[in-house]
Amino acid sequence: MKYLTEYRNAELVHGVIEKIKDITTQHWTLMEICGGQTHSIIKNGLDQLLPSEIELVHGPGCPVCVTPLELIDKALAIAAKPDVIFTSYGDMLRVPGSQADLFSVRAQGGDVRVVYSPLDAVKLAQENPEKEVVFFAIGFETTAPANVMSVLHAHQLGIDNFSILVSHVRVPQAIEAILSSPHNRVQGFLAAGHVCAVMGYWEYIPLAEKYNIPMTITGFEPLDIVQGILTTVESLEAGTHDVNNAYIRAVTEKGNQSAQAVINKVFEECDRKWRGIGLIPGSGWRLKHAYSKYDAEKRFQVETIQAEESPLCISGLVLQGLKKPDQCEAFGTICTPENPLGATMVSDEGACAAYYRYRTQTPDSREIGS
């Protein structure tokens, strides 16, 4: 496949890994922000091939994982209503709320459907005028353009039975939250290629400057990832804190400006709670007042539900890169993909699920960050 097989070429990947080995003189801790990168690293066993001085810690960039429990409970309450068709990306169906998951709601008669695009949900609303169609609009900047387009599309077509339940989060604010933590030990970032394809990377330059930390915009195939690591290690070894772009086939500094324009038209910044991490100021998007009639939270008046996380689940520490999945005492014993305690074990992009699915052995556990 064009643009895929080239980036999985073993010879090229090993060539870059050799270069990393050549230039690395000390231990470096890098965080890959995006769950898609975590998945690719573990699935391809890239961490097995890297020199032992390079430690990869896994970031909070899994939208399924960081969607707060309260919002999942709201989704479940809305989905259980008899006149609702609740639509979602497939991953969200298995994420446990405090009492149930969307699969359970469906098994008990709720009309829960998986869609590949929010525009399919708008189509459903058009085809089912007697129903309320709700789309679970979660994600980082990557999914925002499609989600806002669904609202604009519904608005344009005068469709009144469509709304979205929004839980949008943003990467730069999460990076800042990690860097400003007293426990931070991340020395360099692999920034998320798909997020930057939409937003560009201009927002990262002042962050790199402020915290004196190099960042590399990195793709998702094995060659992309090792190239991102090489570029970051080059900066670290040289003592610089540049923002480099190792994903030029998709990302420019300014990003996709038409996408940003529609996002800004429909969404505004807000504080957002992240599952496992807590509230990060300014880290979310919500619908602007002009589009509030498409806001499922307002439309359905679901009560705020206070929910408690498992004391056993350490997904918050995993999402901040402070612990690795296999340092959790529940990992692989009582917490497995078919019986997840936390969202990091549910989504394909969750670090715990990636470790569980692909790891051939449990590496020595080390306490990180204390």
């Binding site: 066993g45 091939l49 709320g97 699969f103 098994a107 695009s117 529940a330 078919e338 790891r359």
Partner: protein, 354 residues
Amino acid sequence: MTKKTPTIESPICAIPRKHSDKIVQGHGSGGKMMADLIKDVFYPPLANAALLAGDDAGVVEISEGVHLAISTDAHVVSPLFFPGGDIGKLSVCGTVNDVAMVGAKPLYLSASFILEEGLDISILEKVVNSMKEAADEADVQIICGDTKVVAHGEADGLYISTTGVGLLEPGLTIGGSQAKPGDQVIVSGSLGDHGIAVLEARGDLGFETKLESDIAPLNHLIRAMLSVSNEIHVLRDPTRGGAASALNEIANQSQVGILLNEGSIPVKPAVAAACEMLGFDPLYIANEGKLIAVVGPEDAPRILDVMRKTKYGKEAVVIGQIEESPPGRLLLKTGLGSTRIVDLLAGEMLPRIC
């Protein structure tokens, strides 16, 4: 860290969802949830030696030296017609293959139909003719049946259950528990064609692949293999849950490790592309005309030769081997040289694929 099972005090957590109180679609996925359902709900009250062997067909000795293989399969595929086949062909091939996978020669089938009120009889005729065609090719006869009609909305068009009976030659012990370290793992052709073809027919892909389902009766292919070797240890058709699930079952039943070589696994470019776009792994996609064979290493070349001369085994290839450890685990050597686990599917992937 020492591995231990922690004691849990309430409140437990974000509530683990074991789905042990209600059926959800994941229970029909061919993966871990289905395996657990079989183990927890079906085995305890029904247990007997043939059932507990856990193979595609149950084998019983009905009189001295006469071994019967029986298998049954319900078909609920949606849509009823798709490129490369339909529910009728599927209902014959699925059961013929399950009987053949223990090494038996399939002879007779029964078929029961659940029909939804309002179904066009012309559709039913088309499906039945397709069953006849498939039965002729497989050289089996459908000798009894049953018909039930349910009210409109209580089924989706039609469902077909078939049961197949076959005779096993004396001395053959082919089954999931027979894999031995050193054995070679053969697949008869490209993986994932059926699942992606059905998805496309549903209009779920949003793009066209021109793929056809691989549905085929594999009993003649197996006859050909058995004619050249006594070292065929396991045969499995990787239907729901795909090759990954079938191989995990074998690793588990035989308590061996299985190591696949990613570079040798045959996948059509269209299947690979569709999987990339949808976030699927072809190893988990259903097949309806492919088999996996675990065979003695010395016989592997001979078996491959004879497979490649048959209609449904032209692209047969070795994709891995059986190892002593880790017992019960399926591993994959990636193209980059690293090794990873290929686990059983945790939940639902593609409902109503067969």
